[in-house]
């Protein structure tokens, strides 16, 4: 059952990849053909493949649930894959409302990155610790993930808007920041690539080191150590010796992973720039020439409008109910709770700013990008870096 589950997930991944290519084909094709109502055959095929992929991922979800006896949303891997799946689901719904293949070209890669990113984390089916043994696990986590996924569609729409709208003929603050977004996505890809490579090589290096409580503990690195742990002593023979030693309060292993990701990501980005001979934003711009900015703005706004209540319900209301039952208090200013509040406040500000016409269009698109950054911060930094009740070893 477990291997069936994994296979279904892999199948879904490749189907989404194919769908992305087909969506790209659909919008390119529109350049050749004249204004035709509805999507062309590329688009139809693309959405069909997306639906099959979604069904496959749903299959992964169900089989994993059966195998483990609990809803598979209990660790980094499970949650992030579910988030990716919800994003695809949200896209499918928006697609059927607005008939938008171009949105697919921007949303599907985000979903792909999410699933690939998720796979870098331990994916053993783990039993639930007592705090998680509750129906609220499914209710709170799934609703929050779905809410975030719908909000993430606004990110894709926002990037789409910016790619079309920003004048790429000369560098400016806007071209820089759009490119920064692209760079961020490439670094994520870099993390995925380097983690996979070293995982395939089965790189393991063990260290003894002194933690901040002056205790001697062991740590296992899965990548060559550029930054080493505090007073570290390499135990595994022949493995890379750290270049720099870190103070005890810094998690040297995580920092090491981050640095590797940036190195690989930067190299990758440099290569892409060399090949394309222009900014990524500028390179994609011709692809989206024909889209209606007004429609993209509306999609962005509607995703927030639809996603905000779901997110509030899942990430705040249900979270508070469960916290009261499990931790005796519905709100404790734990970093995860605070960042959920920050996300809520941000999108509330977004909706209020939309009351003013001046904030439609480009400003709205930038806000959507920032909002997604906050969601990602909550998923990555709060879980892995900041200490709190939602911490994971990562």
């Amino acid at each position: 059952m477990v291997s069936l589950s994994q296979n279904l997930l892999h199948a879904a991944f490749f189907l989404y990849l194919a769908a992305t290519v087909l969506f790209a084909g659909a919008i390119k094709d529109k350049r050749a053909k004249s204004k035709e109502a509805g999507p062309n055959k590329w688009g139809k095929l693309a959405i069909l493949i997306t639906l099959i992929g979604f069904a496959s991922q749903l299959g992964y979800f169900i089989t994993r649930w059966i195998a483990g006896g609990h809803a598979p949303v209990s660790n980094m891997f499970e949650f992030t894959t579910f988030f990716g799946m919800s994003l695809v689901g949200a896209f499918i719904v928006i697609y059927f409302i607005y008939q938008t293949p171009f949105l697919g070209v921007f949303t599907m890669p985000v979903a792909l990155l999410l699933i690939a990113f998720a796979s870098m984390f331990p994916n053993d089916i783990s039993p639930l610790i007592p705090a998680l043994q509750s129906e609220w696990l499914y209710i709170h986590v799934t609703t929050a993930a779905i809410g975030q996924a719908v909000l993430a569609v606004s990110f894709a729409a926002g990037v789409l808007y910016l790619v079309k709208d920003i004048d790429q003929t000369k560098p400016s603050k806007r071209t820089f920041w759009l490119e920064a977004v692209m760079y961020g996505l490439v670094v994520t890809l870099g993390f995925i690539i380097i983690s996979s490579v070293f995982s395939a090589m089965d790189y393991k290096a063990e260290f003894n080191w002194i933690d901040k409580g002056d205790q001697q503990v062991k740590v296992e690195y899965n990548m060559p150590a550029l930054t080493g742990p505090h007073k570290g002593e390499l135990l595994t023979e022949g493995k890379f010796d750290p270049l720099v030693e870190m103070p005890a309060i810094i998690n040297a292993k995580k920092l090491n992973t981050v640095i590797w990701s940036f190195i690989v990501g930067s190299i990758l980005y440099a290569l892409i720039r060399l090949i394309l001979r222009k900014r990524i934003g500028a390179a994609i711009q011709p692809l989206v020439k024909k889209i209606s900015l007004d429609l993209v703005d509306e999609i962005g706004y509607r995703s927030v409008l639809i996603g905000f209540p779901i997110f509030t319900l899942g990430a705040l209301i249900f979270a508070m109910i469960w916290a009261q039952i499990a931790w005796t208090r519905f709100w404790g200013w734990d970093p995860k709770e605070v960042w959920a509040l920050i996300t809520f406040l941000f999108y509330a500000a977004f909706l209020h700013l939309r009351l003013s016409k001046g904030w439609h269009g480009e400003k709205s698109a930038w806000l959507a990008v920032i909002g997604f950054a906050i969601i990602m911060f909550n998923l990555v930094a709060v879980n892995l870096i900041l200490a709190g009740l939602h911490s994971y070893a990562g």
């Binding site: 783990s126 309060i249 706004y301 734990d334 605070v338 960042w339 406040l345 500000a349 209020h352």
Partner: protein
């Protein structure tokens, strides 16, 4: 001079109204030049814009502004993020006081963080004022808008002024000869799409979803209720947060219950997942983690006091119920809830020693010491006895090298034993601690040999009473209703008016123009009436 404005249609509008609440005729001269009118508040004057004289008015207008509201949200957002840079005071381990901890752990920035008070950010005075300001803003901005909006939507007419229709975002004109039957068809289709259709003099106003306009105000009310609930928490008696530690076998009074309720712990259970017994799928994860907890459970009995006793007297207890308290399953009674929060495994409870001769290891009797209530003298018979001269439940050496105890919990028990034996009538003194025996008066013949221990588990239960919960829950519920009400429905209106020989169609919605356009298209299909033009898109495409 502040006076009301009477429109040519007969309706009297409050001072400052931009276009007539009833028929829509433009009243403010400056607005006549604009191509499209701003429909946000149905033309009504937001009260605060028009009265700005006294300081009271100025404060009122400040809090009524959306811009101010957004700023408050943004500042709160940023402030909240700052509180996550380093752990807040309630989350740091109890190693040392906060004044030292932040500098010790995080160096200069930690010290700065502490000095600025950020370690306790969410209860700081300025953060509370921020939240309070948001609360004030919510109340004032809602009052300021909802009253005029309600009025305007109530008095709106079916037949709208031509200038009003021309300045709607969706507007179109059709030449109208044979449009009698079309009218009926249109009315049918509108009704089929669940519009409320009103007719007057051959003109139509089709409206649906008006209730969604109240959504934002409902959700604001929800937030206000929520904040009131939070505020009530400070009223004494509304909120209790205490920890109750109970050992297995112990019965203790539950704090804050006025001595009415008692709890006995029968057993504390800690279960871990077992690779062999539990689902084999978990095998890898258990290997990776080392140990994964499966269950924390305190089997307790709840008692109520019978009769009237004062604290200190042994009360007569009546059993209420047995209950297994587990994580996610608290014990509830009256307004209280007891949660399985923490625990202490294998706390020392009894220690057994044997009085034995060092040379021969011959034993002359055993002594079992109850670490919570030790006996002073133990008679082992045959002239052998042991006396406890001093007892230190939680021992350490002080700065003078003297043994003292830190607390009454037997975390590290130590004894000064006096061993009385027939051949040593004055007795020998031995200082015995865990893995440590000191003979202060020279070499003894006898020793107290450690024989064994008995341990008990201790449950750490959180006692919680929260009378504000229902208010907070109500606030949350009303908020969600308001958000859903406002986000998932739109307020749509379609005006159809006969002007001379033409049919004028105008449409408005507060959001989702795409959907309204499609809907109007569907209604007008096959009726001969043209679909209205989107005047905004037209401008964009030029």
């Amino acid at each position: 001079m502040l006076k009301n404005v009477k429109c040519e249609c007969g309706h009297v509008n409050p001072h400052g109204t931009i276009f007539c609440e009833s028929c829509g005729k433009i009243l403010e001269e400056s607005e006549k030049d604009k191509k499209l009118i701003d429909m946000r508040y149905e033309g009504s004057a937001r009260r605060s814009q028009t009265y700005n004289k006294t300081i009271i008015d100025k404060i009122w207008n400040f809090f009524s502004s959306v811009k101010v509201g957004v700023w408050l949200i943004v500042v709160t957002l940023v402030a909240s993020a700052i509180g996550t840079i380093f752990p807040q005071e309630m989350y740091i381990p109890p190693l040392m006081p906060a004044s030292e901890y932040y500098e010790d752990q995080y160096g200069f920035f930690g010290k700065l963080y502490y000095q600025l008070g950020f370690h306790n950010l969410y209860s700081s005075w300025w953060y509370l004022i921020l939240i309070a300001s948001i609360g004030v803003s919510l109340i004032i901005c809602s009052l300021d808008r909802v009253v005029p909006l309600y009025r305007a939507l109530k008095v709106q007419r079916v037949t709208r002024h031509e200038g009003f229709l021309q300045r709607q975002r969706l507007f179109g004109v059709s030449q109208g000869d044979k449009l009698e039957d079309s009218y009926e068809k249109v009315k049918e289709k509108l009704k089929a799409k669940r519009y409320h259709v009103r007719e007057e003099d051959g003109n139509i106003l089709a409206e649906k979803g008006r209730f969604s306009r109240w959504g934002p105000y409902v959700n604001h009310v929800g937030l206000i209720i929520f904040l009131i609930g939070g505020m009530l928490r400070f009223v004494p008696g509304m909120y209790v947060d205490k920890v109750l530690w109970v050992r297995e076998g112990e019965t203790k009074v539950i704090p804050e219950t006025d001595g009415e309720y008692y709890l006995k712990s029968n057993r504390f259970i800690l279960e871990v997942y077992d690779k062999d017994k539990d689902n084999e799928v978990f095998g890898d994860a258990i290997d990776r983690a080392g140990m994964v907890a499966k269950n924390y459970q305190s089997n307790v009995t709840l008692y109520k006091k019978k009769g009237d006793t004062v604290p200190g007297e042994k009360p007569e207890l009546e059993k209420v119920k047995d209950f297994p308290i587990r994580v996610n399953e608290p014990l509830k009674f009256e307004n209280f809830a007891l949660y399985q929060s923490t625990y202490k495994l294998d706390e020392l409870n009894k220690m057994t020693f044997a009085l034995s001769e060092k040379q021969t290891n011959q034993e002359f009797g055993t002594v079992t010491v109850d670490l919570y209530d030790p006996k002073e003298k133990f008679d082992l018979g045959n002239g052998y006895s042991v006396e406890i001269v001093s007892y230190f439940p939680d021992f350490e050496f002080d700065e003078n090298g003297e043994p003292v105890t830190k607390s009454r919990i037997p975390n590290n028990p130590a004894f000064v034993f006096k061993m009385n034996t027939p051949d040593k009538p004055d007795g020998e003194v031995s200082f015995v601690a865990i893995k440590q025996t000191i003979e202060p008066f020279g070499d003894n013949t006898y020793k107290m040999a450690f024989k064994g221990i008995e341990t008990k588990n201790v449950s750490g239960l959180t006692v919680r009473k929260d009378l504000t919960l229902w208010i907070i829950a109500l606030g949350g519920l009303v908020f969600m209703i308001g958000v859903i009400q406002g986000a998932y429905w739109n307020h749509r209106r379609i005006w159809i008016r006969r002007v001379n020989n033409e049919v004028w169609v105008a449409g408005h919605t507060n959001k989702n123009w795409h959907g309204l356009k499609r809907e109007i298209g569907g209604v007008l299909e096959g009726t001969g009436i043209n679909e209205p033009v989107d005047q905004v898109q037209e401008k964009q495409e030029k």
